[in-house]
């Protein structure tokens, strides 16, 4: 039986995973950071659903907001795009 709460659970988990994959795969680092923040936010909702409001708050405030902010500052001081070249891998070319 799938009730509504479970629907939300599944939805959140799926969203979380999808945004994590996006965060990893997007070449625009800014977008990736946003994806990462989204993961944190969904996790925060999940925490809430898991009856952990304290953690949810901390995750939202620190895990999502602050770390995204720090990431963005770092991107600003370095570079925004992951370079395109795909290496052959460390075991081929030392």
């Amino acid at each position: 039986m799938i009730n509504c709460v479970q629907c939300i659970e599944y939805l959140i988990v799926i969203l979380m995973i999808v945004s994590a994959i996006f965060a990893v795969e997007w070449r625009d680092l800014l977008a990736a950071v946003v994806g990462m923040a989204a993961v944190s936010l969904f996790a925060s909702i999940a925490f809430f659903l898991l009856q952990a409001p304290d953690v949810a708050m901390v995750e939202a405030a620190i895990g999502a907001a602050m770390s995204a902010a720090v990431f963005i500052f770092a991107i600003k001081r370095t570079e925004r795009y992951e370079s395109e070249e795909e290496g052959t891998g460390w075991w081929v070319r030392w």
Partner: protein, 114 residues
Amino acid sequence: MISAYYFGAISLILIGLYAILTKRNLLKILVGLSIMETGVNLLLISVGYVSGRTAPILTEGATPQTAVDPIPQALVLTAIVIGVATTALALTVAINLYEKYKTLDIEKIRGLRG
């Protein structure tokens, strides 16, 4: 069959690990680490969850018998802060590296070897 949260948590950890193993951009790797940490936190909280109980805030209506385990929550509180601290420091190092090497490609940052 494991629960959705366990699945999600493990997936996050592994996606983070995947990023570390395959991405060459330093910031991307740090994003991976960050996602990994989120996954671990989610795992800890899910371990402490007890079905059908409420948050461990013992105001009216909530008794010790109807609250979830507070310990994992306290642990995760700590873990999150530690995670952010690590991330911040790592990003600082990344900034320094970019200043010195003019790149974030870890395949090119290989001054120390052998």
